[in-house]
């Protein structure tokens, strides 16, 4: 009798495992109360759990958020897997372009009505740089959550040692090159600037491209536009820092610009504002930060960013109200988040004197105003990293000419555009 019993228990165990064994989800305090309208919210940006807890407390018996912070590195894969299993969230926050395929596939809802319910007028309350150019088929499906502009970080101590004014960072191409040359001291292993072949080109190249008057692509026609005279000028500048002006090392590996900057061996870095806390900790009072120098013809900087959007799934009128309440709660608390390092996009917060007193924030707010976004085309991030940024790497390693790098990438990407939804 023991054998069949043992076999039966093994069998039941196997069925349990194959059926996807997982304990029942923990019930939130709000859920146990039963009355609250609950919706799920996933984000891959800064952890918002404290703010969500505050919201759940404030609206204790009315609304509740089931919150999940997912890793940025593979956010798209996690969300797509969940959506394909019909277990996706109601509200999603990611960077901008991942929202495009969902809009194109018709599984997002227009966001303007919800913003209106929350008392938000996007044209007035968000920076134009974060609101314009964010439509798919002329409909707004996304609203900005925070911004990460590209800025210039520099080491004031190295500036001083090179006889430069530590409070006057370079403002254009000529001053940038001049300063970088003075700051490069090869005998000490010190560089005026470190241009990595790979990162942070997804921030830097679009910044320089726009500065020279170019655009990456036209989202309406899906025409790839970066292989232009502006694109050539932008990439030539990067190339020249290594091979013409010799202010940057050859073949810098991933992370070197950052690591050398922290060690005081790299005097300037143009990258996303997300590095501010780490640089501040490493350099203290010697950290300088300014908007990007105008390398091209006009000020522009790429905006790293987080946006949110709503999936149709489970979006009842009651849930819409709950989401609108969360929007209002979030934006009205953005000063608190700014103090913790998240860069706000809410007009009243940006104008608040308390915000402008936070170290570094005025520069960042200025950079947000001149910011540019990636074109809202499905899979833009993947396609550019596969073709454009792979080729830029080869160009900056001296393996490909600037012109060929951009033209081959544009040709492949144009071909890829035809396969997109």
């Amino acid at each position: 009798m023991r054998q069949p019993a043992l076999a039966l228990s093994l069998l039941l165990g196997a069925v349990w495992l194959a059926a996807g064994a997982s304990p029942p989800p923990a019930r939130t305090a709000a859920a146990t109360r039963g009355a609250a309208v609950t919706f799920s919210f996933w984000n891959s940006g800064p952890d918002l759990s404290t703010l969500v807890q505050g919201f759940n407390r404030t609206y204790a018996s009315k609304y509740a958020i089931k919150y999940r912070n997912i890793p940025y590195a593979n956010e798209t894969e996690i969300v797509n897997s969940a959506l394909s299993a019909h277990k996706g969230p109601t509200l999603m926050e990611e960077s901008l372009t991942p929202s495009a395929p969902y809009a194109v596939e018709g599984i997002e809802v227009p966001i303007l009505p919800l913003l209106k319910m929350a008392g938000i007028n996007p044209a007035r309350d968000f920076p134009a740089s974060m609101w314009n150019r964010t439509t798919v088929n002329k409909v707004h499906y996304v609203a900005p959550v925070d911004a990460l502009p590209t800025v210039l970080f520099y080491n004031k101590a190295l500036f001083k040692a090179a006889g430069l004014n530590p409070n006057r960072p370079p403002i254009n191409q000529a001053t940038f090159v001049r300063d970088a040359q003075k700051l490069t001291v090869r005998a000490k292993g010190q560089w005026g600037y470190v241009q990595e072949p790979a990162w942070p080109n997804p921030f830097l190249f679009p910044s320089l491209l726009e500065q020279f008057g170019g655009r990456e692509a036209n989202p309406a026609t899906r025409k790839i536009l970066f292989a232009s005279s502006a694109g050539l000028a932008a990439l030539n500048f990067e190339h020249n820092t290594i091979f013409k002006w010799h202010v940057s090392p050859v073949n810098a590996s991933n992370g070197e610009a950052h690591n050398l900057f922290v060690k005081g061996k790299n005097a300037m870095e143009m990258t996303g504002a997300y590095d501010y806390p780490i640089f501040k900790k490493a350099l203290g009072k010697n950290l300088g930060m300014s908007v990007l120098p105008v390398i091209g013809r006009r000020p522009a900087d790429f905006l790293g960013q987080n946006y949110w959007w709503l999936f149709k799934n489970g979006l009842t009128p009651a849930v819409r109200k709950a989401v609108a309440a969360w929007f209002a709660y979030y934006y009205h608390h953005s000063l608190l988040l700014a103090k913790a390092g998240t860069i706000p996009v809410w007009g009243p917060t940006l104008k608040n004197p308390a915000f402008r007193r936070i170290a570094g924030m005025p520069v960042i707010a200025q950079a947000v105003n001149t910011g540019v976004l990636n074109p809202l085309i499905p899979n833009w991030g993947t396609t550019t990293s596969t073709y454009l940024y792979a080729n830029i790497s080869l160009v900056l390693e001296g393996k490909m000419s600037v012109k060929a790098g951009l033209h081959v990438a544009a040709q492949k990407m144009q071909q890829e555009m035809a396969t997109l939804p």
């Binding site: 059926a19 590996s253 790497s393």
Partner: protein, 312 residues
């Protein structure tokens, strides 16, 4: 009691015990099936069904977020294999080429380095110290391993370049990028193969080594003439599992070189991943994966065939 009565009684006893034996056999058979049923359920639910479903997906335009977008039959396979102007086909052949290259440069080291270490430990004293020491890297996660090596192999100020006094772009230029990936993989995974080979060495009859010693064989001649031939089945096993593992290369280039410079260290798994989860061409990704599986199965069968004497 007549003979007839005895015969009848015996027949009755036989008749009476036959159903009992049948019942016992049936019970035993049911038990046996119940024992293998858990495996069959797991195999069916977690292997056979996904494979079947994967084939189904590969025959369709399949977007992971909205599902089936229409039947395409074998056209995806045909495009991948024969349409050189298609981006998918270019990615497939490029990725497959890189993967085969990695198998070619990694498997010989993944067999010989652990073999030398295992033999060294087998012959030396301090086995209980060296075995865990060499096995230790295997216990680390790939993220930890690649993070450490990415730091060690930096061009400016990386430990290796500092110690050697050179300026080698280990992670950003070829052939160094492949050498780095190979080096890291061998460092990370050799411990596992070493343990298998060490276990194989301990199973060899000690008398053979004693006889070789009496005949005056040194360490190296014993290694090449005694240990290696005797370990052949284990070496073949290690070769096959290393080939399979190397074919599944993904995380090391993904985290160390990002598949670059250009695409030069992008294995086929990276293209499959990108097409399936980022570009949302799940049908194409599934077809690529099945073609890769077929190539892998053919190589493994070939290795097995050679290990059995190559048909002689």
């Amino acid at each position: 009691m007549s003979v007839k009565d005895v015969g009848a009684r015996q027949a009755g006893r036989t008749r009476g015990s036959r159903p009992a034996a049948t019942r016992l056999r049936a019970k035993s058979t049911i038990s046996a099936y119940l024992f293998i049923l858990p495996f069959l359920i797991l195999f069916g639910g977690l292997t056979a069904y996904p494979i079947g479903y994967g084939i189904y997906i590969s025959l369709h335009h399949w977007n992971p977020i909205v599902g089936n977008n229409g039947w395409v039959g074998l056209s995806t396979y045909a495009e991948l294999l024969f349409n050189g102007s298609s981006l998918f086909s270019q990615q497939f052949w490029q990725g497959l080429g890189h993967t085969v290259l990695f198998v070619g440069i990694s498997v010989p080291f993944l067999v010989t380095v652990p073999l030398l270490i295992a033999y060294g430990i087998y012959r030396a004293s301090g086995k209980s110290f060296f075995r865990p020491l060499y096995f230790f890297p295997t216990t680390l996660s790939v993220t930890a391993v690649t993070s450490i090596w990415a730091w060690i192999l930096q061009t400016q100020g990386g430990a290796v370049n500092q110690i050697l006094g050179v300026h080698i772009p280990w992670l950003v230029a070829e052939p160094w990028a492949w050498i780095s990936i190979d080096l890291v993989t061998v460092w990370w995974t050799s411990g596992f193969n070493m343990i298998i080979l060490y276990a194989g060495l301990t199973q060899l009859p000690k008398t053979v080594f004693d006889a070789a010693a009496i005949d005056g064989a040194g360490v190296f001649s014993t290694f090449f003439s005694v240990a290696v031939p005797q370990l052949k089945p284990v070496l073949v096993f290690v070769g096959i599992i290393s080939t399979i593992a190397s074919f599944n290369l993904f995380a090391q280039p993904y985290l160390l070189t990002g598949g670059g410079p250009g695409f030069s260290t992008s294995p086929i798994t990276m293209f499959i991943y990108g097409e399936g989860f980022n570009a949302m061409h799940m049908g194409t990704a599934a077809a690529m994966a099945f073609l890769m599986g077929i190539v892998l199965a053919a190589i493994s069968l070939g290795q097995y065939w050679f290990s059995r004497g190559g048909g002689q």
